[in-house]
Amino acid sequence: MLCIIALVVFAILGIFSATHRELAWEALDCVTRRVTLRPCTSGFKEKVKSKVLAVLLNRSVFAARVFNRHFELVSWVFIILIILSTVYVVKGAYNFYFYASCNGLNQSGFCAFDPSGEHNKVTELSSTCGIVPKEESNLTLEGVEVSLFPSIPGTSDDTVVFIGCYDCEFTRKAYPSIQKLVKKHSSRYVFAHFPAKEHTKFLSEIGHCVYKEYGDRFWAFNDRLFTGDRAYVHDRNALDALLTEFGFDIGTISTCTEKPETKREVEQQLVELKKTNLYGTPTVFVNGTAFVGPKPYRVYSWEFTKWW
């Protein structure tokens, strides 16, 4: 077994060092012999053991003695650790590829493939938004009335529900991938603005009124809010100029937003969104599966293409 581990270790080290390359070849010879039920003749085990003992002996006689006496046990422990590490690495790589996180879908925690954790970052909701624990397992569309929100019907059976905040950098990062996803798979698309940042609450009313008054012309406006200058969400004058640019009557929009009925409808939308137990934006539901944070396109797409 030592030969197998040594082969892996020295093969990697051998990329950079000629000395280790020779040891890798010896380990390979040993492995080949062992798997064909022949004894290893190169004395490889003794060589490796001696090299390690020589280093230990110069540092600590006690450590060298322990290593020498329990060499087999130490070897096995090392082997098991390497196997476990390999399993974790493979699992991490699998999770990263399919879920953009080494630890699983929507799981934070360190990931060597994504050290900054970009794919799981969200703008967290303020404490006034909900008291449900931030657990991915709680996220759900069960009992949520998605018909209250702007939607585009699709030609397939798939549904994408995109809950985001216009001023959330992570929502804005996820937006292009979601648009690509919906377009490619012709899925039904529902957009819900959730004001993760308090100052964007008025945008929920404006968006609702634009959709109510002008129908599908809302989507181009919605697209500009996500892809255009962020000034639109901070500066009311800039937003008014944008509304005018799209041919929306500012007076009509303003009148709509001030109606008690509009406020009730927007409040109802927020109540429905809270039923999802979301804890940050963006939160995307692809066929009911929740994705929190800006994932790479492949992660969303896999939800459509996986066969299980």
């Binding site: 004395g43 003794e46 001696s50 002996l57 006689v61 060298a64 003695r65 020498n68 006496r69």
Partner: protein
Amino acid sequence: MHEYRSDFPLLNADNAIPPVYFDNACMSLKPRRVLDAMNTYYTEYPACAGRSSHRLSEKATQKVTEARKHVARFLNSSREEEVVFVRNTTEAINLLAYSLNLAPGDRILTSDKEHNSNLVPWQIACERRGAVHSIVRSREDGTFDLEAFRTLVPGAKIVSMVHTSNLDGVSIPAKDIIKIAHEHGALVILDAAQSAPHQKIDVQDLDVDFVALSGHKMLGPTGTGVLYGKYELLQGLQPFLTGGDTVEYTTYEKHVMLPTPEKFEAGLQDYAGIIGLGEATRYVQKVGFATIQARELELNAFITNELKVIPAIRIIGPQDPALRSGIFNFYMPGVNMHQIALMLDETAQVMIRSGQHCVHSWFKDRGIENSARISVYFYNTVEEAKRCVDALKKISLLF
């Protein structure tokens, strides 16, 4: 001794930690003059000896002849024709095992510490020709049991024994053995691979019939060796390698062999090696056997006194270092001695041999897995011995 060390390139290499070479029983280091002599052959007169008549060939012939004379002088042979150049001791003994007249029932006597080169050829000769092989067992301390030999020698045709054992450094009382063997009409062959570099071999004084030795253990190049034999005995032997340079002339039907030594030296020889070997014998004689033995005893005594106190160490052979030439061979029960040798190299750059030293029969007989052998020569120092001993003491703490 320092003036000799400067002659050896390995001992003067630019190393941060100079290596300690304690594997002289396997192969000795080579002094610069031996290397220069070989190099001179290749650069100045790289021609065939004894064939062409141009000046380069004549020079090569002259140098080879000189080398043969040096070796003859080294062995105190009365005639240079008694010196046959071979590749090593193994080839020399194989030549004898092949060529000596053996009939079914003839007995061959060896010791119980023979190198495989002086055991296997006789075992095969016995298998092929129906001869019988007997062993003279050593005493408990590894010294030669002359009384046991006296008991076994009557009726023996050949006595072939290792002069100094590569296992434990013990030398047999060669002169007594030869005298007794001759009294019973037996021929005596000495495997002198381990003795020729360390003690004077006077073939006339010993009255030995054949001596086999290797050049690589006595400062000479690898691939060189000598078979000495009494002239009349060599003349009566048939060579097992024949061809070019072994014949006076040939026709399509027959050939006429040259006399010894040429008839045994078939084909183009390793002239550079032979010239180097001649130079090596001169160097050894220049150093002198008294100096060599004094240094070996000093080093072996130091090593023995330092290591015999370690409980785990078992010395192979007599405890007295004066009886073990320059060899300190030891084992530690339950310990793989290859690991000891490897660790000695890794921790202190000390080179020793580990294993069964081509004397498998001895180890098998006693159920010992392997041993580690320290073998010194005149160019080694007490400082080197101390480094070896200190490292071994540290390593022994692991077991």
